[in-house]
């Protein structure tokens, strides 16, 4: 009776992270969970795609074949997105933004293939947010120097400095929570539909998969990358 009424609908409702196996490190029990497995699968797919793309580009032909065409289209679109958002600073960030775009996109749409999306684990999205945070502040110190950072911290008056610090810390938290909660809500909705309506859940959940996995996942990927680019080009400034 320890379960809530939501979970009394059946043991089929399952969207939690499960441990696969555990081992002991320095007296701590460390679990390898389904998130790790899913991240590894996504990484394998991306690495395989990358190797195939590398081979195709090395043997590039004058008139591109189908696969080469697809690669060129992807790279062109990603570079165009970075360049239109960041302007002349874009060239340095094409690689990073392209990488996290492809990683988050593949993670989000891996729900289509029956995996639990790795981005529905806060342990995956928080590092992405922290990476953005590091990038913002590295570029801030690099381009605005210490004096500029201090001036930005005491923006209207020095008494506002604590509020500005809280605002800075809120950036990675809100970025990662937004991605996490969006993907998690999709996962929970699909688990509820398959668990509670398992008798009549035939074919029509495909439409919901298109919304929750493809549409929502692509939008959130785009938003994460756009916000990262906006914050970083803000940190770089005009000079």
């Amino acid at each position: 009776m320890g379960q809530g009424i939501l979970l009394s609908g059946g043991a089929d409702i399952d969207f939690m992270i499960h441990g696969v196996f555990s081992y002991e490190v320095f007296g701590q029990t460390v679990w390898i969970t389904t998130s790790h497995v899913c991240v590894l699968l996504v990484m394998l797919v991306i690495i395989g795609f990358g190797i195939a793309a590398n081979r195709a580009i090395k043997h590039a032909t004058e008139v591109p074949g189908t696969f080469q065409n697809i690669i060129e289209l992807i790279v062109e679109k990603l570079d165009g997105m970075v360049d239109t958002t960041m302007g002349k600073n874009g060239a340095n960030f094409r690689n990073y933004i392209g990488t996290i775009f492809i990683f988050i996109l593949f993670s989000n749409i891996s729900g289509l293939l029956g995996l639990r999306p790795p981005t529905a684990d806060y342990g995956v999205t928080l590092p992405l947010g922290v990476m953005t945070f590091t990038l913002i502040h590295f570029n801030k110190f690099k381009h605005q120097k210490v004096s500029g950072v201090l001036k930005g911290l005491c923006d209207p008056w020095p008494i506002w400095a604590p509020i500005n610090i809280i605002g800075d810390i809120a950036v990675p938290i809100s970025l990662s929570l937004r991605l996490f909660a969006n993907v998690l809500s999709g996962t929970v909705m699909m688990a509820l539909i398959y668990g509670l309506l398992s008798k009549i859940a035939i074919i029509w959940p495909a439409a919901l998969h298109v919304y929750f996995d493809l549409f929502s996942g692509a939008i959130q990927t785009y938003v994460f990358c756009m916000l990262t680019m906006t914050y970083v080009s803000d940190a770089i400034g005009d000079n």
């Binding site: 009776m1 009424i5 939501l6 939690m16 937004r178 909660a181 998690l184 959130q220």
Partner: protein, 85 residues
């Protein structure tokens, strides 16, 4: 006194709290609707800028969605992580 505050009572209160927490979804709904309405009128005025307007609208809507998602997260925590037990 301890009779009342048993596990099931706390679970029931958590469920009520989760229900109250997702009321936070009202705000983003209204906000996203306003953003979409203004985007529609902007496209009506300047159909050439449709792709720019759409991407700006989606970005703004996704940012506005955040507060609703915080409410959803609180509901999830109350229902499945059960911090009060």
């Amino acid at each position: 006194m301890n009779e009342i505050f048993n596990t099931n009572f706390i679970l029931g209160c958590s469920a009520i709290g989760a229900g109250l927490a997702v009321i936070a979804g009202i705000g983003p709904g209204v906000g996203q609707g306003i953003a979409a309405g203004f985007a529609a009128s902007a496209v009506g005025r300047n159909p050439g800028a449709k792709s720019d307007i759409t991407s700006t609208m989606l970005l703004g809507q996704a940012v506005a969605e955040t507060t609703g998602l915080y409410g959803l997260l609180i509901a999830m925590l109350l229902l499945f992580v059960k911090p009060l037990i």
